[in-house]
Protein backbone atom coordinates (compact mmCIF):
# COMPACT_ATOMS: atom_id res chain seq x y z
CA UNK A 1 0.00 0.00 0.00
CA UNK A 2 1.44 3.36 -1.06
CA UNK A 3 1.20 5.95 1.71
CA UNK A 4 2.87 8.98 0.14
CA UNK A 5 2.42 11.79 -0.61
CA UNK A 6 1.41 13.13 2.78
CA UNK A 7 -0.71 16.24 2.37
CA UNK A 8 -1.52 18.60 5.23
CA UNK A 9 -4.15 21.10 4.19
CA UNK A 10 -4.57 24.23 6.21
CA UNK A 11 -3.96 22.68 9.62
CA UNK A 12 -4.76 24.90 12.57
CA UNK A 13 -4.66 23.73 16.15
CA UNK A 14 -5.15 25.70 19.33
CA UNK A 15 -5.45 24.94 23.04
CA UNK A 16 -7.38 27.32 25.30
CA UNK A 17 -7.18 30.05 22.68
CA UNK A 18 -3.41 29.63 22.15
CA UNK A 19 -2.55 28.84 18.56
CA UNK A 20 -0.12 25.93 18.63
CA UNK A 21 -0.15 25.32 14.87
CA UNK A 22 -1.18 27.95 12.33
CA UNK A 23 -2.17 27.40 8.75
CA UNK A 24 0.16 24.47 8.09
CA UNK A 25 0.23 23.37 4.46
CA UNK A 26 2.70 20.66 3.65
CA UNK A 27 3.13 18.16 0.84
CA UNK A 28 5.68 15.49 1.63
CA UNK A 29 6.83 13.09 -1.04
CA UNK A 30 10.21 12.23 0.45
CA UNK A 31 10.18 8.50 1.19
CA UNK A 32 13.04 8.33 3.68
CA UNK A 33 13.75 10.53 6.72
CA UNK A 34 11.93 13.83 7.20
CA UNK A 35 13.23 15.94 10.04
CA UNK A 36 10.89 18.32 11.81
CA UNK A 37 13.05 20.99 13.40
CA UNK A 38 12.37 24.14 15.35
CA UNK A 39 12.95 25.79 18.70
CA UNK A 40 11.32 24.59 21.91
CA UNK A 41 7.59 25.19 21.92
CA UNK A 42 7.45 25.63 18.15
CA UNK A 43 4.83 22.88 17.76
CA UNK A 44 6.99 19.99 16.48
CA UNK A 45 5.74 17.34 18.91
CA UNK A 46 2.15 18.51 18.48
CA UNK A 47 2.49 18.12 14.72
CA UNK A 48 3.82 14.57 15.16
CA UNK A 49 0.94 13.72 17.51
CA UNK A 50 -1.57 15.07 15.02
CA UNK A 51 0.01 13.12 12.17
CA UNK A 52 -0.16 9.98 14.33
CA UNK A 53 -3.79 10.62 15.23
CA UNK A 54 -3.18 11.13 18.95
CA UNK A 55 -4.70 14.57 18.58
CA UNK A 56 -7.78 14.53 16.40
CA UNK A 57 -8.33 17.08 13.66
CA UNK A 58 -10.78 17.21 10.78
CA UNK A 59 -10.48 14.17 8.53
CA UNK A 60 -9.77 16.10 5.33
CA UNK A 61 -6.89 18.05 6.90
CA UNK A 62 -4.40 15.19 6.66
CA UNK A 63 -4.28 12.67 3.83
CA UNK A 64 -1.79 9.95 3.01
CA UNK A 65 -2.01 9.18 -0.69
CA UNK A 66 -5.64 10.31 -0.45
CA UNK A 67 -6.38 8.02 2.52
CA UNK A 68 -7.44 9.81 5.68
CA UNK A 69 -5.39 9.58 8.87
CA UNK A 70 -7.78 7.13 10.58
CA UNK A 71 -7.28 4.54 7.84
CA UNK A 72 -3.52 4.87 7.98
CA UNK A 73 -3.21 4.73 11.80
CA UNK A 74 -2.69 0.97 11.83
CA UNK A 75 0.40 1.39 9.63
CA UNK A 76 1.94 3.92 12.02
CA UNK A 77 4.04 3.68 15.19
CA UNK A 78 5.41 6.35 17.45
CA UNK A 79 8.38 6.57 19.79
CA UNK A 80 7.94 9.22 22.45
CA UNK A 81 10.58 11.54 23.82
CA UNK A 82 10.30 9.82 27.20
CA UNK A 83 9.84 6.18 26.23
CA UNK A 84 6.68 4.63 27.64
CA UNK A 85 7.27 1.02 28.63
CA UNK A 86 4.95 -1.30 30.51
CA UNK A 87 5.88 -2.59 33.96
CA UNK A 88 7.05 -5.96 32.59
CA UNK A 89 10.25 -7.44 31.26
CA UNK A 90 11.60 -6.18 27.94
CA UNK A 91 10.51 -9.39 26.16
CA UNK A 92 7.02 -9.22 27.72
CA UNK A 93 6.70 -5.61 26.52
CA UNK A 94 7.51 -6.70 22.98
CA UNK A 95 5.26 -9.76 23.14
CA UNK A 96 2.41 -7.58 24.38
CA UNK A 97 2.72 -5.24 21.38
CA UNK A 98 3.06 -8.18 18.98
CA UNK A 99 -0.01 -9.85 20.43
CA UNK A 100 -2.10 -6.69 20.42
CA UNK A 101 -1.33 -6.35 16.71
CA UNK A 102 -2.15 -9.97 15.92
CA UNK A 103 1.48 -10.74 15.14
CA UNK A 104 3.03 -14.03 16.16
CA UNK A 105 4.05 -13.19 19.73
CA UNK A 106 7.29 -15.12 20.23
CA UNK A 107 8.55 -14.99 16.66
CA UNK A 108 7.94 -11.24 16.37
CA UNK A 109 9.70 -10.51 19.65
CA UNK A 110 12.65 -12.75 18.78
CA UNK A 111 13.21 -10.97 15.50
CA UNK A 112 13.31 -7.42 16.91
CA UNK A 113 15.39 -8.48 19.90
CA UNK A 114 18.00 -9.78 17.46
CA UNK A 115 17.71 -6.79 15.16
CA UNK A 116 18.15 -4.23 17.94
CA UNK A 117 20.76 -6.26 19.78
CA UNK A 118 18.88 -6.27 23.12
CA UNK A 119 19.18 -9.98 23.90
CA UNK A 120 21.18 -9.15 27.05
CA UNK A 121 18.27 -7.24 28.62
CA UNK A 122 15.27 -9.23 27.33
CA UNK A 123 14.45 -10.76 30.73
CA UNK A 124 15.07 -7.60 32.77
CA UNK A 125 12.14 -5.54 34.02
CA UNK A 126 11.75 -2.40 31.90
CA UNK A 127 11.96 -0.22 34.99
CA UNK A 128 15.55 -1.30 35.68
CA UNK A 129 17.13 -0.59 32.27
CA UNK A 130 19.11 2.53 31.31
CA UNK A 131 17.84 5.51 29.30
CA UNK A 132 19.57 4.36 26.13
CA UNK A 133 18.22 0.84 26.53
CA UNK A 134 14.72 2.21 27.15
CA UNK A 135 14.94 4.14 23.90
CA UNK A 136 16.05 1.01 22.02
CA UNK A 137 13.20 -1.01 23.53
CA UNK A 138 10.74 1.76 22.61
CA UNK A 139 11.99 1.59 19.01
CA UNK A 140 11.73 -2.21 19.13
CA UNK A 141 8.12 -1.82 20.32
CA UNK A 142 7.47 0.53 17.42
CA UNK A 143 8.94 -1.72 14.72
CA UNK A 144 7.44 -5.00 15.95
CA UNK A 145 4.15 -3.81 14.43
CA UNK A 146 5.73 -3.70 10.95
CA UNK A 147 4.75 -0.06 10.43
CA UNK A 148 5.08 1.82 7.17
CA UNK A 149 5.52 5.11 9.03
CA UNK A 150 7.37 5.77 12.30
CA UNK A 151 7.23 9.04 14.23
CA UNK A 152 10.21 9.66 16.50
CA UNK A 153 9.98 12.52 18.96
CA UNK A 154 13.53 13.58 19.83
CA UNK A 155 14.65 9.96 20.15
CA UNK A 156 18.26 10.75 21.02
CA UNK A 157 17.93 13.96 23.05
CA UNK A 158 18.87 12.31 26.34
CA UNK A 159 21.43 9.82 25.10
CA UNK A 160 25.19 9.63 25.20
CA UNK A 161 27.13 9.66 21.88
CA UNK A 162 27.47 5.86 21.74
CA UNK A 163 23.74 5.22 22.11
CA UNK A 164 22.99 8.18 19.83
CA UNK A 165 25.13 6.60 17.11
CA UNK A 166 23.48 3.20 17.61
CA UNK A 167 19.95 4.68 17.44
CA UNK A 168 20.87 6.66 14.30
CA UNK A 169 22.04 3.45 12.64
CA UNK A 170 18.77 1.76 13.54
CA UNK A 171 16.77 4.70 12.16
CA UNK A 172 18.80 4.73 8.92
CA UNK A 173 18.41 0.98 8.50
CA UNK A 174 14.63 1.24 9.01
CA UNK A 175 14.53 3.97 6.38
CA UNK A 176 16.58 1.80 4.00
CA UNK A 177 13.99 -0.95 4.53
CA UNK A 178 11.31 1.38 3.19
CA UNK A 179 9.84 2.72 6.45
CA UNK A 180 8.92 6.40 6.24
CA UNK A 181 10.45 8.24 9.20
CA UNK A 182 9.30 11.54 10.69
CA UNK A 183 11.62 12.69 13.40
CA UNK A 184 11.99 15.78 15.55
CA UNK A 185 15.44 16.82 16.71
CA UNK A 186 17.49 19.84 17.74
CA UNK A 187 20.76 18.26 16.80
CA UNK A 188 22.14 20.00 13.69
CA UNK A 189 24.89 17.43 13.12
CA UNK A 190 22.30 14.66 13.38
CA UNK A 191 20.12 16.43 10.80
CA UNK A 192 23.16 16.49 8.48
CA UNK A 193 23.98 12.84 9.14
CA UNK A 194 20.62 11.15 8.66
CA UNK A 195 18.03 13.68 7.45
CA UNK A 196 16.90 13.78 3.83
CA UNK A 197 14.18 16.41 4.06
CA UNK A 198 13.60 19.12 6.66
CA UNK A 199 10.53 21.03 7.78
CA UNK A 200 11.39 23.97 10.01
CA UNK A 201 8.64 25.26 12.27
CA UNK A 202 8.59 28.38 14.41
CA UNK A 203 5.67 29.46 16.61
CA UNK A 204 3.39 26.98 14.87
CA UNK A 205 4.20 28.11 11.34
CA UNK A 206 6.27 26.40 8.67
CA UNK A 207 9.24 28.62 7.83
CA UNK A 208 11.11 26.23 5.58
CA UNK A 209 10.68 22.90 3.80
CA UNK A 210 13.24 21.42 1.47
CA UNK A 211 15.95 18.78 1.12
CA UNK A 212 18.43 18.82 4.00
CA UNK A 213 21.33 19.39 1.58
CA UNK A 214 19.80 22.75 0.61
CA UNK A 215 18.97 23.70 4.20
CA UNK A 216 22.61 24.33 4.99
CA UNK A 217 23.38 26.29 1.79
CA UNK A 218 20.18 28.32 1.30
CA UNK A 219 19.85 31.88 2.52
CA UNK A 220 17.71 32.03 5.66
CA UNK A 221 16.05 34.47 7.99
CA UNK A 222 17.95 35.43 11.15
CA UNK A 223 16.12 32.85 13.28
CA UNK A 224 17.10 29.84 11.16
CA UNK A 225 20.64 31.20 10.77
CA UNK A 226 20.97 31.29 14.56
CA UNK A 227 19.45 27.82 14.84
CA UNK A 228 22.02 26.42 12.41
CA UNK A 229 24.96 28.29 13.92
CA UNK A 230 24.21 27.49 17.56
CA UNK A 231 22.95 23.97 16.96
Amino acid sequence: MKILPLKINNLNYSVNGNNILKNINITCEESSITIIAGNNGSGKSTLLKILHGLIEVEKETITWNNYNNVKIKKYQSMVFQNPILLNRTVRENLEYIAQSNNKHRKHGAEEVIRRLNIKNIEHISAKYISGGERQKVAIAMAIIRDPKIIFLDEPTSQLDPVYKNEIEHIISSLSNDGVKIFMTTHDISQIKRIGKEIIFIEKGEVLYQNKVKYFFSDKHCELIKKYINYG
Partner: protein
Protein backbone atom coordinates in the same frame (compact mmCIF):
# COMPACT_ATOMS: atom_id res chain seq x y z
CA UNK B 1 -4.03 -10.09 86.14
CA UNK B 2 -3.00 -9.09 82.59
CA UNK B 3 -0.39 -11.87 82.55
CA UNK B 4 -3.06 -14.42 83.53
CA UNK B 5 -5.42 -13.18 80.81
CA UNK B 6 -2.69 -13.33 78.17
CA UNK B 7 -1.63 -16.80 79.33
CA UNK B 8 -5.19 -18.12 79.05
CA UNK B 9 -5.62 -16.40 75.67
CA UNK B 10 -2.42 -17.97 74.29
CA UNK B 11 -3.55 -21.34 75.67
CA UNK B 12 -6.82 -21.03 73.77
CA UNK B 13 -4.88 -20.38 70.58
CA UNK B 14 -2.22 -23.05 71.10
CA UNK B 15 -4.71 -25.76 72.12
CA UNK B 16 -6.79 -24.91 69.02
CA UNK B 17 -9.88 -24.23 71.16
CA UNK B 18 -12.88 -25.38 69.10
CA UNK B 19 -15.08 -22.43 70.07
CA UNK B 20 -12.33 -19.94 69.17
CA UNK B 21 -11.57 -21.56 65.82
CA UNK B 22 -15.25 -21.91 64.93
CA UNK B 23 -15.53 -18.11 65.29
CA UNK B 24 -12.34 -17.50 63.28
CA UNK B 25 -13.54 -19.91 60.58
CA UNK B 26 -16.90 -18.16 60.18
CA UNK B 27 -15.25 -14.73 60.23
CA UNK B 28 -12.88 -15.67 57.41
CA UNK B 29 -15.67 -17.31 55.39
CA UNK B 30 -17.93 -14.25 55.66
CA UNK B 31 -15.18 -11.71 54.98
CA UNK B 32 -13.58 -13.62 52.09
CA UNK B 33 -16.98 -14.19 50.46
CA UNK B 34 -17.79 -10.48 50.80
CA UNK B 35 -14.37 -9.56 49.45
CA UNK B 36 -14.72 -11.89 46.45
CA UNK B 37 -18.14 -10.49 45.53
CA UNK B 38 -17.05 -6.89 46.14
CA UNK B 39 -13.88 -7.02 44.01
CA UNK B 40 -15.68 -8.89 41.21
CA UNK B 41 -18.04 -5.93 40.93
CA UNK B 42 -15.84 -3.03 41.99
CA UNK B 43 -12.58 -3.54 40.10
CA UNK B 44 -14.24 -3.67 36.65
CA UNK B 45 -16.54 -0.80 37.66
CA UNK B 46 -13.68 1.36 38.98
CA UNK B 47 -11.68 0.72 35.80
CA UNK B 48 -14.71 1.34 33.55
CA UNK B 49 -15.26 4.73 35.17
CA UNK B 50 -11.82 5.92 34.02
CA UNK B 51 -12.72 5.42 30.36
CA UNK B 52 -16.33 6.39 30.09
CA UNK B 53 -16.48 9.96 31.17
CA UNK B 54 -20.05 11.11 31.48
CA UNK B 55 -22.49 12.22 34.15
CA UNK B 56 -22.91 8.64 35.37
CA UNK B 57 -19.15 8.42 35.97
CA UNK B 58 -18.98 11.64 38.01
CA UNK B 59 -22.03 10.55 39.99
CA UNK B 60 -20.68 7.09 40.82
CA UNK B 61 -17.25 8.45 41.80
CA UNK B 62 -18.89 11.06 44.05
CA UNK B 63 -21.17 8.46 45.68
CA UNK B 64 -18.30 5.98 46.17
CA UNK B 65 -16.11 8.62 47.76
CA UNK B 66 -18.96 9.66 50.04
CA UNK B 67 -19.86 6.10 51.05
CA UNK B 68 -16.23 5.26 51.84
CA UNK B 69 -16.67 7.03 55.13
CA UNK B 70 -20.14 5.72 55.92
CA UNK B 71 -20.39 4.39 59.53
CA UNK B 72 -20.93 0.60 59.39
CA UNK B 73 -23.78 0.80 61.94
CA UNK B 74 -25.72 3.05 59.57
CA UNK B 75 -25.16 0.57 56.76
CA UNK B 76 -26.20 -2.26 59.10
CA UNK B 77 -29.36 -0.38 59.99
CA UNK B 78 -30.15 0.21 56.33
CA UNK B 79 -29.72 -3.47 55.46
CA UNK B 80 -31.74 -4.44 58.53
CA UNK B 81 -34.68 -2.36 57.32
CA UNK B 82 -34.40 -3.88 53.86
CA UNK B 83 -34.13 -7.55 54.84
CA UNK B 84 -36.25 -7.64 58.00
CA UNK B 85 -39.64 -9.38 57.71
CA UNK B 86 -41.42 -6.14 56.79
CA UNK B 87 -38.63 -4.89 54.53
CA UNK B 88 -38.59 -4.79 50.73
CA UNK B 89 -36.33 -7.85 50.61
CA UNK B 90 -37.93 -9.56 53.62
CA UNK B 91 -38.99 -12.48 51.40
CA UNK B 92 -35.31 -13.49 51.13
CA UNK B 93 -35.42 -14.42 54.82
CA UNK B 94 -31.71 -13.76 55.37
CA UNK B 95 -31.84 -11.59 58.50
CA UNK B 96 -29.66 -13.05 61.30
CA UNK B 97 -27.88 -15.37 58.88
CA UNK B 98 -24.29 -15.31 57.55
CA UNK B 99 -25.77 -14.26 54.16
CA UNK B 100 -26.92 -10.95 55.61
CA UNK B 101 -23.46 -10.48 57.11
CA UNK B 102 -21.84 -11.15 53.72
CA UNK B 103 -24.24 -8.63 52.16
CA UNK B 104 -23.37 -6.00 54.79
CA UNK B 105 -19.62 -6.47 54.39
CA UNK B 106 -19.89 -6.52 50.58
CA UNK B 107 -21.74 -3.20 50.57
CA UNK B 108 -19.24 -1.84 53.05
CA UNK B 109 -16.25 -2.73 50.87
CA UNK B 110 -17.65 -1.85 47.42
CA UNK B 111 -17.27 1.96 47.71
CA UNK B 112 -13.72 1.55 49.05
CA UNK B 113 -12.65 -0.79 46.24
CA UNK B 114 -14.41 1.28 43.53
CA UNK B 115 -12.80 4.54 44.68
CA UNK B 116 -9.31 3.12 45.17
CA UNK B 117 -9.46 1.15 41.89
CA UNK B 118 -10.59 4.29 40.05
CA UNK B 119 -7.68 6.25 41.53
CA UNK B 120 -5.07 3.60 40.69
CA UNK B 121 -6.29 3.03 37.13
CA UNK B 122 -6.68 6.78 36.57
CA UNK B 123 -3.04 7.36 37.57
CA UNK B 124 -1.80 4.48 35.40
CA UNK B 125 -3.90 5.65 32.46
CA UNK B 126 -2.17 9.03 32.65
CA UNK B 127 1.21 7.29 32.34
CA UNK B 128 0.19 4.96 29.51
CA UNK B 129 -2.44 6.97 27.66
CA UNK B 130 -0.17 7.98 24.77
CA UNK B 131 1.18 4.46 24.30
CA UNK B 132 -2.22 2.77 24.43
CA UNK B 133 -3.75 5.32 22.05
CA UNK B 134 -0.77 4.97 19.76
CA UNK B 135 -1.36 1.20 19.61
CA UNK B 136 -4.88 1.83 18.35
CA UNK B 137 -6.40 -0.49 20.97
CA UNK B 138 -10.08 -0.80 21.78
CA UNK B 139 -11.23 0.55 25.14
CA UNK B 140 -11.71 -3.03 26.34
CA UNK B 141 -8.08 -3.93 25.52
CA UNK B 142 -6.85 -0.73 27.16
CA UNK B 143 -8.86 -1.58 30.25
CA UNK B 144 -7.46 -5.11 30.43
CA UNK B 145 -3.93 -3.78 30.02
CA UNK B 146 -4.35 -1.15 32.73
CA UNK B 147 -5.86 -3.65 35.19
CA UNK B 148 -2.91 -5.94 34.56
CA UNK B 149 -0.44 -3.08 34.95
CA UNK B 150 -2.09 -2.13 38.25
CA UNK B 151 -2.12 -5.74 39.48
CA UNK B 152 0.00 -5.13 42.59
CA UNK B 153 -1.81 -1.92 43.47
CA UNK B 154 -5.16 -3.68 43.05
CA UNK B 155 -4.08 -6.51 45.33
CA UNK B 156 -3.30 -3.83 47.89
CA UNK B 157 -6.77 -2.38 47.32
CA UNK B 158 -8.32 -5.82 47.88
CA UNK B 159 -6.34 -6.28 51.08
CA UNK B 160 -7.45 -2.84 52.27
CA UNK B 161 -11.04 -3.98 51.70
CA UNK B 162 -10.38 -7.21 53.56
CA UNK B 163 -8.89 -5.29 56.48
CA UNK B 164 -11.89 -2.96 56.64
CA UNK B 165 -14.40 -5.82 56.50
CA UNK B 166 -12.66 -8.07 59.01
CA UNK B 167 -12.39 -5.27 61.58
CA UNK B 168 -16.02 -4.22 61.20
CA UNK B 169 -18.44 -4.84 64.08
CA UNK B 170 -21.51 -2.59 63.89
CA UNK B 171 -23.16 -3.81 60.70
CA UNK B 172 -22.61 -7.55 61.25
CA UNK B 173 -23.87 -7.23 64.82
CA UNK B 174 -27.14 -5.66 63.60
CA UNK B 175 -27.83 -7.97 60.65
CA UNK B 176 -26.16 -11.12 62.02
CA UNK B 177 -27.45 -10.92 65.55
CA UNK B 178 -24.26 -12.46 67.05
CA UNK B 179 -25.90 -15.89 67.43
CA UNK B 180 -23.58 -18.44 69.03
CA UNK B 181 -22.36 -21.17 66.65
CA UNK B 182 -24.17 -19.48 63.76
CA UNK B 183 -23.42 -15.79 63.19
CA UNK B 184 -20.81 -15.03 65.81
CA UNK B 185 -17.66 -13.61 64.22
CA UNK B 186 -14.44 -12.32 65.78
CA UNK B 187 -15.44 -8.69 66.21
CA UNK B 188 -18.95 -9.39 67.57
CA UNK B 189 -17.55 -12.10 69.85
CA UNK B 190 -14.96 -9.67 71.26
CA UNK B 191 -17.70 -7.14 72.05
CA UNK B 192 -19.98 -9.80 73.53
CA UNK B 193 -17.36 -11.66 75.60
CA UNK B 194 -16.01 -8.39 77.00
CA UNK B 195 -19.49 -7.24 78.01
CA UNK B 196 -20.07 -10.44 79.97
CA UNK B 197 -16.61 -10.31 81.59
CA UNK B 198 -15.11 -13.31 79.78
CA UNK B 199 -12.07 -11.34 78.76
CA UNK B 200 -9.72 -14.28 77.88
CA UNK B 201 -11.57 -15.35 74.73
CA UNK B 202 -11.90 -11.68 73.69
CA UNK B 203 -8.16 -11.16 74.09
CA UNK B 204 -7.39 -14.36 72.13
CA UNK B 205 -9.63 -13.16 69.30
CA UNK B 206 -8.08 -9.69 69.52
CA UNK B 207 -4.63 -11.24 69.13
CA UNK B 208 -5.77 -13.19 66.07
CA UNK B 209 -7.19 -9.98 64.56
CA UNK B 210 -3.90 -8.20 65.24
CA UNK B 211 -1.97 -11.04 63.57
CA UNK B 212 -4.26 -10.86 60.53
CA UNK B 213 -3.75 -7.10 60.41
CA UNK B 214 0.03 -7.55 60.68
CA UNK B 215 0.04 -10.12 57.85
CA UNK B 216 -2.03 -7.78 55.64
CA UNK B 217 0.31 -4.86 56.37
CA UNK B 218 3.38 -6.94 55.54
CA UNK B 219 1.84 -8.19 52.28
CA UNK B 220 0.82 -4.63 51.28
CA UNK B 221 4.34 -3.40 52.06
CA UNK B 222 5.98 -6.05 49.91
CA UNK B 223 3.46 -5.57 47.09
CA UNK B 224 4.25 -1.84 47.05
CA UNK B 225 7.95 -2.70 46.68
CA UNK B 226 7.26 -5.04 43.74
CA UNK B 227 4.80 -2.70 42.02
Amino acid sequence: MLVNILETAFNLIITLDSNLFEIINLSLKVTLSALFIAISISIPLGAYLVFYKNRFQSFVVLISNTLMGMPPVVLGLLIYTLVSKKGVFGFLDILYTPYAMVLAQTLLIIPIVVSLTYEEIYKKNKDYKLLLNSLNLSNYSKLKTLIYECRYALLTVALTGFGRASAEVGAVMIVGGNINHYTRVMTTAIAFETSKGSIELAVALGLILLIISLIITLIIKSLRKIG
